[in-house]
């Protein structure tokens, strides 16, 4: 006679050490096996889109910072590009270079947090602190540039808040020199650790077809073997001037599109970002960073969908303007928001421990999901 078993509903979060914020997961489990997962979001819904409708265009920039708070520079970058396209502003060369440097440094900082917290999710706490140590150095670079550590309000429509600090180039070069060995150390400690590979390889496999249908973008899509990066495929700013590769998942330790691949994409992307920063600081021209800042930001009536490659994927801004100083509607296509939809699908049949592994590998930021 078979024993009668019951399914158990386990609520993970909103307060849970590894939900990366205030996500709530409703797991239906049988023993340790996941039957289904329902994510509940909205615990950090801060009404970004409502604020956009009452603020003027420049006033919105600080709010974009607070969406994906791990990649504030990239958020600002995406937003100002959208507004500039709508208004038809050409920005000076120097501004473009500084923006790219900032965005790529931010990408490294953001990936460091993703990797560090992923290590902590799997149970290795030390890489987390190593990553934060390196991230701190990038934050110092941001700090000498604009005075803030996390939320910058540095990239303005048509220009920048102000020019680079005279020491910035030197310090960035020093950082790159220091960071490369640290990245290798991180690889030795975590990436190629056998237990780590056992925990993450062949877990949460996301095939390319499914990924595209679910609208997955960024490192998660590339880990599934799709070569798609907006910096190459739909170039914005001056990314077409740099020589860098787009890492694509190959399934070195398992299947293409598993957690390990998604994790490894971020390591590789950091290396590529370093290359871009190196090239950019060598080529950076002189110039005035505030010459193109418009006195009054009043785009013509119309709508535009503009997107950039954020550390987590495609960040799109859909701006509808009625010709006044504040937009009628801004809808943000937040990469985490879209990437999260597939989560329930990935978890089915895995174990409770895999839920945190998969969640960490998708690398979500709740501020962006809930906005």
């Amino acid at each position: 006679m078979a024993l009668k078993t019951e399914e158990m509903v386990l609520n993970m979060g909103p307060q849970h050490p590894s939900t990366h914020g205030v996500l709530r997961l409703e797991l239906v489990i049988e023993g340790e096996i996941i039957k289904s997962v329902t994510p509940h979001i909205g615990y950090l819904h801060r009404c970004f889109e409502k604020h956009c409708e009452v603020m003027t265009y420049p006033q919105i920039i600080p709010y974009t910072d607070r969406m994906d708070y791990l990649a504030s520079m990239c958020n600002e970058f995406g937003y100002v590009i959208a507004v500039e396209r709508l208004m038809g502003i050409e920005v000076p060369e120097r501004v473009e270079y500084i923006r790219v440097i900032m965005a790529e440094l931010q990408r490294i900082a953001s990936h460091l947090v993703a990797i560090g917290t992923y290590g902590a999710d799997i149970g290795a706490f030390t890489p987390f602190l190593f990553c934060f140590r390196d991230r701190e150095k990038i934050l110092n670079l941001f700090e000498i540039t604009c005075g803030a550590r996390l939320l910058y309000n540095y990239i303005w429509i048509g220009g920048l808040m102000h020019d680079l600090h005279p020491d910035f180039i030197r310090l960035t070069k020093e950082f790159i020199k220091e960071f490369r060995p640290n990245l290798k150390e991180l690889n030795d400690l975590l990436t190629f650790n056998q237990i780590f590979i056992d925990r993450t390889a062949n877990v949460g496999i996301l095939p390319a077809e499914t990924a595209i249908n679910y609208g997955i973008t960024g490192p998660n899509l590339r880990a599934s073997g799709v070569n798609w990066d907006l910096r190459i495929n739909d170039p914005y700013s001056i990314y077409d001037r740099f020589d860098f590769k787009i890492p694509v998942g190959k399934g070195e330790n398992g299947t293409v599109g598993d957690c390990w691949n998604r994790y490894y994409m971020r390591i590789l992307e950091m290396e590529e970002s370093l290359k871009i920063v190196e090239q950019a600081i060598n080529q950076i021209p002189d110039g005035d960073v505030s010459s193109a800042i418009p006195k009054r930001v009043k785009p013509p009536a119309g709508q535009i969908y503009s997107r950039v490659e954020n550390p987590r994927g495609e960040l799109g801004y859909f701006i509808v303007s009625d010709g006044s100083v504040n937009p009628t509607r801004i809808k943000v296509r937040a990469p985490s928001f879209v990437n999260m939809v597939v989560f329930g699908e990935l978890c089915k049949g895995h174990m409770v421990a895999d839920v945190v592994a998969i969640l960490g590998s998708i690398d979500i930021v709740l501020g962006e999901i809930d906005r």
């Binding site: 307060q15 909205g42 607070r66 708070y69 996390l150």
Partner: protein, 163 residues
């Protein structure tokens, strides 16, 4: 202070010394609830990380509210979350302290006017001991907030208040 709290009507040298010892123990071992809300949580994590090292002050994150002494409300509190925060606060055993970190949890921050889903200040649901201003506060500011909390604990007393 547990069973002895406010049990004494007059102050004397023994009580004062015991008080000092107990206060010292509490203030030097503030276990923080490992719980982040929004942007400030990243700065809170940075404070725990190597560069600023919360552990110097005896602060370690505990995953369960039952084992923590201080809850750092690090970020915007929404209505959906406020209910849970209240519950978490109630689940913590006594001698619990609350640090409200950042403008959002102090007063609603940049979302105070149009935030239809933002609670304008966490002190509308739970009592707050220390407010740390900033958006987000720097790790140093959070450390300062912790020192202020320690100062507050240092002045707690076993003696019941008169009048």
């Amino acid at each position: 202070m547990g069973l002895l709290d406010k049990q004494f009507t007059d102050d004397n040298i023994i009580i004062t010394k015991v008080e000092d010892l107990l206060n010292w123990a509490r203030l030097s071992s503030l276990w923080q609830m490992g719980f982040g809300l929004a942007c400030c949580a990243i700065e809170m994590m940075a404070t725990s990380a190597s560069h600023y090292d919360f552990d110097r002050f005896g602060v370690i994150p505990r995953p369960s509210p039952r084992q923590s002494d201080v809850i750092i409300i690090s970020g915007t509190v929404t209505f959906k979350m406020a209910i849970r925060i209240k519950r978490l606060y109630e689940q913590m055993p006594d001698h619990k302290y609350v640090i409200s970190m950042g403008s959002c949890s102090n007063c609603g921050g940049p979302y105070w006017e149009h935030g239809y889903h933002v609670l304008k200040g966490v002190d509308r649901v739970i009592p707050v001991d220390v407010y740390v201003p900033g958006c987000p506060p720097r790790p140093e500011a959070l450390l300062e907030g912790l020192l202020k909390l320690q100062e507050k604990i240092r002045n707690e007393t076993l003696v019941s208040k008169t009048a």
